[in-house]
Symmetry: C2
Subunit: 286 residues, 2 copies
């Protein structure tokens, strides 16, 4: 930390993975809803999830934090506690960063540097017609909670009861296993919502997809289908595989939700009827 740059040694024949993510007050979190340790946790989780989606190992995190003049130091301390608790859980050192005063609102920019054996990063572009589509965990829990906050039906949530939203767990172990066993042909994390992220993968792979409403692991059950389809910030993994997979990988539930198709259409089958599935993922609550 004492030098102009952080110096990091990677394992031999590894490539560098790099991801950066802004977390902005009013866009990604609100101070009246999100306790500071949750804000710190979530801002790092976003970056770790990007590393997971490539099948990589996180190696170091960097945090640039700008806070408004009146913000209590206790807020910053709790933010860092949330950030560092998650970092420690995955053995990721905080290797640098920057602090500044912001004119208004908290702004955090995080960088996660990871690595992957050369040539083995799982890209979005590898899906082929006939591949099965899978997701880890459940979908829509984060958006469902957010909808209740936005509508006012939930005012002061007990944050520990909603870990999918307040303390999401990036799927690093599952991502690593998929890469090591060469089980995923293409992968992306579900940060913008399944429909949008599935479109991203199909565009990069130049393929279409068919998914089935009845197969989706919707958090809270089938009545919450729209959250599972379009709700963002789940940080689950969506991937294409040529293999029939078990129900769990590295302890993480895995569900087959459909298949990759020829052509470029992305469709949803519900009660036996097929319709186009637009990219309608949520753009936070900005």
């Amino acid at each position: 930390m004492g030098d102009d740059c952080a110096v990091l040694r990677l394992p031999p024949r590894h490539e560098v993975l790099m991801t950066t993510d802004f977390s902005l007050e009013g866009v990604h979190f609100r101070r009246q809803w999100h306790p500071p340790d949750s804000v710190g946790h979530r801002c790092l989780a976003r970056g770790l999830s990007d590393i997971a989606a490539m099948g990589g190992e996180p190696r170091a995190a960097f945090l640039s934090l700008a806070v408004p003049p009146g913000l209590p130091q206790s807020w910053v301390d709790a933010f860092l506690r949330g950030f560092l608790t998650l970092a420690r859980k995955f053995g990721v050192p905080l290797a640098g960063g920057d602090t500044a005063e912001s004119p208004d609102g908290v702004l955090a920019d995080i960088v996660v540097l990871g690595s992957v054996p050369a040539g083995q990063a799982i890209l979005r572009s590898g899906a082929r017609p006939g591949d099965s589509l899978y997701v880890t965990g459940e979908l829509g829990a984060s958006a469902r909670l957010l909808a209740r906050l936005l509508s006012g039906s939930l005012k002061k949530p007990n944050t520990r009861r909603y870990p999918a939203h307040f303390y999401p767990t990036p799927r690093l172990a599952a991502g690593r296993l998929l890469r090591e066993k060469k089980l995923a042909a293409a992968m992306i994390d579900v940060s913008d919502g399944l429909s949008t992220d599935l479109h991203h993968m199909c565009e990069e792979s130049r393929v279409g997809a068919r998914i089935y409403a009845e197969m989706l692991p919707a958090a809270g059950g089938p009545a919450n289908l729209r959250f599972a389809l379009h709700g963002g910030e789940d940080y689950e993994l969506l991937f294409a595989s040529r293999r029939a997979l078990p129900a769990r990988l590295a302890g993480t539930p895995v569900t087959r939700i459909g298949e990759v198709t020829r052509g470029r259409k992305v469709v949803l089958v519900e009660a036996g009827r097929e319709r186009n599935l637009p990219a309608a993922g949520w753009e936070h609550f900005g």
Copy 2:
């Protein structure tokens, strides 16, 4: 750019160098003084200078940019033009980043990823008593111009006449040569002001220093000594060397300004008299 992370391959047996820098409106620049292409140039130059200070090679840049709602698109376009022109000059691809709306003011966070042969990064901690201290280029030009802007004696500067402030050149070629030829035992870039950065190097190396006012390459001549001593944002290199060096390295002027001493005192010799030199570098104009 289509994936969750950027994937970068480094040369074999290289280590990763990483630096992040905030550039904030009102702290690092003002929109009425700094044209947008200068803001873009300067925000990348800060990161490249950090890589130069380690003797490294820049490999990729990442830009996270938050702008207020009313900002004209032409401002952002010119900012990017300034950023990318400098990036191209040093062969550094813009490999990713993020954009967002800021509540107020422009905020840029840049990351530069570089590399250096394993074990050869030039740290701040390698200076030893008896080493000579050198700087590249001239010192104080940026702060001298800033003082004129702050005092109001200069209103609308012709920015091309003041490249040290508006379009500084990171000393990558000199830094690389110093590393390749093993000429620098310790190095830092002069971003906070010579006095402050010299203190940083001495602290990390657990040594003292003696520098000579008459030997300092003060921009504008000896009358500008205080800018040369304490003015920030010069982006020159300060380094300790066991060798007597020529007047130029990789085309860059190099000046001996003093020596590393035993003990922990940092002193200035002026007109034959020695006095303590406090770390009094400027903290921008925030």
